[in-house]
Symmetry: C2
Subunit: 205 residues, 2 copies
């Protein structure tokens, strides 16, 4: 089945030989109207997700939450066996999406149990380390990366904090043995990771 | 700018209230023809990328390339400062795409130089560790992950090897001080990672 990203249809100049030709703006508008007549839902988020997460399994992970100061040592959080969730929110993300997002991530069978079976981090039960990772929102422009679709700083902090709280609530309800740790939003995420295979997955919402 | 995934346009039944209504197959075919007349490129990969990579910056990374055997110890490769490339190929990926893929990854300004400026791994110059990571192709179905869009084993090995060779060629041409190491395709990728912030990025091709 064919697919195409209509958001790129009017970029560039038709006939530009250095890029695939695109349809004219007139035809594009006719296309959208035609589809809307048929009741096709049009995404208004620029075609991208509201949140992007990368998941890695770990034996141990240590994350700096406060850099060393003039009179203080650096501070760290640490988890033993479990899952690292790198998270990035985009413009258009809202608190409404968080319960489903948390439920999905904590219930996906991504963790290897001692018997070799794949189980969720709730079932393992495993610890969770949440790493704010705005860089996941990057899109290349030439040789540089741009982060134009990323959520703004204040909204991002609010959503991130709510995401962390929800994870804590759900994980710690499942087991008293495990914990959720998280990075400081906006800081450099100095991370050390020890794995028996990260089994890196991408999940978008 | 609006966008939509046309590959879903003829799924389901028009008027099905549990899903967004879709356009009729007749109108879909007219749509595709119309766009092709305009020269719009149609992706035949089921709407997904041909390759997916996740990039992380590291101070040091160690990867097991051979597990311990009955009479042998485990073998590892290791890099110092540089970039880890986790790579997954999908059905429809071919060798044609590799030169541009390698060039993009090695020239994107993702690495932090000692002055704090963002430079490419070629400019740093940094080492590269390539980790085959088929799990990146996962899509959730209920609580399980499915990997149906992943490239087959033989083609995957062939492409992965070619990708590694191209990276070696391009990186080592840029500097004699740096190296490319890579994981063993199909093995468990036992990885230990030390970072000053992984600056995790997603790049799809």
């Amino acid at each position: 089945m064919r697919s195409f990203d209509a958001s790129r249809l009017t970029s560039g100049q038709p006939g530009n030989s250095s890029q695939a030709p695109f349809i004219s703006p007139v035809r594009y508008r006719l296309l959208c109207s035609s589809l809307e007549e048929d009741g096709v839902r049009m995404a208004d988020s620029g075609g991208g997700p509201a949140a992007r997460t990368v998941l890695q399994q770990c034996l141990q992970a240590r994350l700096q939450v406060q850099p060393a100061g003039e009179q203080s040592e650096a501070e760290y959080v640490q988890i033993s066996r479990g899952m690292v969730i790198y998270v990035c929110f985009f413009k258009g993300a809202s608190e409404d999406m968080l319960p489903r997002m948390v439920s999905t991530l904590l219930n996906l069978r991504l963790c290897e149990s001692s018997s070799g079976k794949m189980v969720s981090v709730l079932e393992l039960p495993g610890n969770v380390l949440i790493v704010p990772q705005a860089t996941l929102g990057g899109r290349p422009k030439g040789r540089a990366m741009q982060y134009h679709q990323n959520i703004g700083k204040e909204d991002g902090l609010r959503l991130y904090s709510a995401f962390v709280s929800l994870c804590e609530k759900e994980l710690m309800a499942a087991s008293a043995e495990v914990t959720v740790k998280h990075g400081t939003y906006g800081n450099r995420q100095v991370l050390v990771l020890d794995t028996n295979g990260p089994y890196t997955h991408l999940m978008e919402f």
